[in-house]
């Protein structure tokens, strides 16, 4: 009797009401579960909250700012609103009519008074190189202009005689612009306002992107070639020896970047250790000193050294989990050592190779300090140019556009990797 009672209430405990599982007292099972889990969810959230806040403030927000800056275009809209309105009636052919110049005179005078004309001049100068001079010179004398203003303007600077200048003002009279991105891909506007490639001798960025990608790819391949055997050795050695080797691999991590780079300079420069040694051994003559630094070779050598641990660590952690019985099994099945290695061992290291390659590639694509120190002219990467636009030319919009292109291409690469290999197979140690 007791037995059957027990069974009865047991089957009753989880009964269905309106197609929903409910608990004994009739609350839906899902709601009950949610309540029971609420505390745990709250604790989990509290645990991640500090980092989340930090990331929001220091990472997500600045990246958002950067991407916003790459399209933000407030200068013309805020300084010349009436001029833009007047330009709406202009057909784009020949010079605009008097109302445009009237508005222009008024707004330039205001801009000159509250010192916003400088920003406008810099912004328009990105689009046409004489704009800065035209605006600055005109703004100094615009107070004295008399109606009809058109003639005064035409006399003030030759650029006011160029219809293209008005087209540019009209085009950039939008709060958002694509011109930074167009510039980042070596594009420009032609006479008809269409986007075309720059003249061949003025193209910089596409080549630099290609060079950056090619160098990163090369560095990734070299770190893989150098890192695979050492990881393999470490994974097969007993713990004590493996740890010693690991220390050597990690040494680059523990030395200051500047010290490492300086030592590369000492080794690689024209009068450096390697060149002197090669001459002393008679391999090269005194006039045949190798240029191994302040060029692409120098950047690749130094960056390979710095990024090697990022390849070795994931490789090692994956290889350590591969039991020796797989290769043994392959051999017992008749595979030669090479076939066993290539067909059985290497495929199982793919998650490590993938993780290492993605890490090294992504880090090197945005690498700045080493190319800046040992890159010379031919070893520069895209990040050096971004830094140039932020620090020297102060074209933040272009810097932001270049940075966004870099960011987006990394995300695309990651997406491709995810489609091909699966990101959940990444093993980062």
């Amino acid at each position: 009797m007791t037995q059957s009672d027990g069974t009865h209430s047991g089957s009753d405990a989880g009964h269905m009401v309106n197609g929903q599982m409910v608990t004994v007292d009739g609350t839906p099972l899902k709601a009950s579960l949610k309540r029971a889990e609420r505390k745990r969810t709250l604790i989990a959230f509290l645990l991640v909250a500090p980092l989340l806040t930090y990331l929001l403030i220091s990472f997500i927000f600045p990246i958002g700012q950067m991407m916003w800056r790459s399209v933000d275009n407030p200068q013309v809209v805020t300084t010349l609103p009436k001029t833009l309105e007047a330009l709406d009636d202009w057909d784009g052919e020949g010079l605009p009519d008097e109302p445009v110049f009237e508005a222009l005179a008024e707004e330039l005078a205001i801009a000159s008074a509250n010192r916003t004309v400088g920003q406008l001049a810099v912004r328009l100068n990105y689009e046409i190189s004489a704009a800065r001079g035209a605006l600055m010179r005109t703004s100094r004398s615009v107070e004295d202009f008399e109606p009809p203003y058109k003639e005064d303007f035409l006399d003030a600077h030759r650029l006011w005689n160029d219809p293209a200048f008005y087209r540019i003002i009209k085009r950039e009279g939008n709060p958002l612009t694509a011109s930074y991105y167009i510039a980042a891909f070596d594009g420009t506007y032609n006479e008809d306002g269409e986007v075309v490639l720059q003249d061949e001798n003025r193209r910089i960025y596409i080549d630099l992107f290609i060079r950056t990608f090619a160098m990163s790819l090369g560095i990734t391949l070299i770190t893989l070639l150098l890192g695979f055997p050492i990881s393999f050795l470490m994974a097969s050695l007993p713990m004590r020896h493996a740890n010693l080797l690991m220390i050597f691999v990690l040494l680059p991590f523990w030395t200051s970047l500047l010290v490492r780079t300086t030592s590369w300079i000492v080794l690689l420069q024209q009068q450096g250790v390697i060149n002197e040694l090669l001459i002393a051994l008679g391999f090269i003559g005194d006039d045949g000193r190798l240029g191994m630094i302040y060029n692409m070779t120098g950047t690749i050598i130094a960056m390979t050294h710095i990024l090697l641990p990022f390849m070795v660590l994931p490789l090692y952690s994956v290889m350590k989990t591969i039991p020796p019985s797989y290769v043994r099994a392959a051999k017992s099945l008749g595979a030669t050592p090479w076939t066993a290695f290539w067909r059985v061992y290497v495929p199982q290291t793919l998650p490590g190779i993938g993780a290492g390659a993605v890490l090294v590639f992504i880090i090197s694509i945005g690498y700045y300090i080493t190319p800046a120190l040992v890159g010379g002219q031919s070893g520069q990467m895209i990040s050096n140019l971004i830094a140039h636009h932020m620090q020297t030319s102060l074209n933040w919009g272009l810097a932001a556009a270049l940075g966004s292109v870099l960011l987006i291409s990394v995300l695309i690469l990651y997406w491709v990797y995810n489609r091909l290999v699966g990101a959940d197979s990444l093993k980062l140690g």
Binding site: S325, Y326, R328, A329, S332, L333, G334, P347
Partner: protein, 366 residues
């Protein structure tokens, strides 16, 4: 296979020694001959050297001294992939990045077999272990037992004459393990292959083997058929390792032909079969299987009869496991058959027990 002869030596270890560090021997002077078609099990506790022997035979370890012969040829210097020995590993070692079909096809592929022939052989081998339906799956999608069958099929698909198995059933649960034991045994009988099997599970060894080599401390302690090993252990280690036994320490008092009178530590005298003792005064361990110690009924007579006190009774269905105090020992185990009169025993009661001198073996002292 025309000159198939069951007595023919197929695998031989000839005075093989193995050391890893140059200081200690893991395998000490191993001599072992395995006939064609035999199922030989290397049984022993971990660290006894049995797996090392298997690895030397497979070619993954080199013998420090001595020869290993396969079909009369020394194979010490032949690399593993040229030995043509099938092997089943403890963790199955199925290649995780290949399907079951590709796993089985691998040994045929590296032998340069063409595609149609490969496919036929793969399906054949899978059918042998009832796994045809799984050819397209990955190892991770299979249960432990299924992986085990596939590993077995892979070791057999290239038709090796010798198959090594390194604790292949260690990771399976009890029911599945027992089932697979029979399956492997039947495959062995059907294919006529020679199997060298390593395990630390004595039941497994007793179930499957033609002969068992009991390993301890780098030596074969005894090489015999399962029945011999259980009935006639040659030393105290084997007696203890295979099945259950009562051990009693004592000293030889006198010797009469094949039997010895042994004085136990508490002074009682036991007549036992002389196995490892040769003269009066030798220290010895007496070994007696629990099921050979009997409750004396009526006026039955045994060479050894003692008064015992029942300490504990455990009801196990077919027999009552009884712990009694006798000859100064508290841990003497008897298996009393569950006959209609078993109720006569009570804890604390005195019973008269006895055993034949043929069932009690005087082994080496340990």
């Amino acid at each position: 296979m025309e000159n198939e002869n069951p007595g023919e030596v197929f695998v031989a270890f000839d005075r093989v020694q193995k050391s890893y560090d140059g200081e200690e021997l893991v395998v000490k002077d191993l001599n072992l001959a395995i006939s064609k078609g035999e199922f030989l099990t290397m049984l022993g506790p971990s660290g006894s050297g049995k797996t090392t022997c298997l690895m030397m035979l497979a070619g993954f370890e080199t013998a420090t001294y001595g020869d290993i012969l396969l079909d009369g040829q020394a194979i010490n210097n032949i690399p593993p992939h040229k030995r043509g020995i099938g092997m089943v590993f403890q963790n199955y070692a199925l290649f995780p990045h290949m399907t079951i079909g590709e796993n089985l096809s691998f040994p045929l592929e590296v032998r340069g077999m063409d595609k149609s022939e490969r496919e036929a052989k793969v399906m054949n081998a899978l059918a042998m272990v009832q796994m045809e339906a799984f050819a397209g799956r990955r190892p991770a999608q299979l249960s432990g037992g299924q992986q085990q069958r596939v590993a077995l099929a892979r070791a057999l698909v290239f038709e090796p004459e010798l198959v090594l198995m390194d604790e292949p059933l260690g990771a399976l649960d009890k029911n599945l393990r027992e089932h697979m034991q029979y399956e492997i045994k039947h495959l062995h009988e059907k294919l006529g292959i020679t199997v060298v099997y390593v395990t630390h599970d004595q039941t497994e060894a007793l179930t499957m083997s033609d002969r068992i080599a009991v390993f301890d401390d780098g030596r074969i302690q005894q090489l015999a058929s399962p029945a011999d090993l259980y009935e006639r252990p040659e030393n105290a280690f084997v007696a203890q390792f295979i099945g259950e036994n009562n051990r009693m320490q004592g000293e030889v008092e006198s010797i009469e032909g094949d039997f010895a009178q042994v004085r136990l530590d508490d002074g009682s005298m036991v007549k036992a079969l002389k196995v490892c003792v040769s003269e009066v005064g030798d220290k010895t361990t007496l070994s007696l299987r629990p099921e050979r110690a009997l409750v004396v009924k009526g006026d039955a007579q045994y060479a050894n009869m003692f008064d015992a006190t029942v300490k504990e009774l455990i009801y196990l269905g077919d027999h009552i496991r009884s712990r009694v105090s006798v000859c100064g020992r508290d841990d003497f185990i008897m298996k009393v058959p569950n006959s209609s009169d078993h109720h006569s025993m009570r804890v604390g009661q005195s019973v008269r027990i006895g055993w034949s001198e043929h069932d009690c073996r005087a082994l080496d002292a340990t």
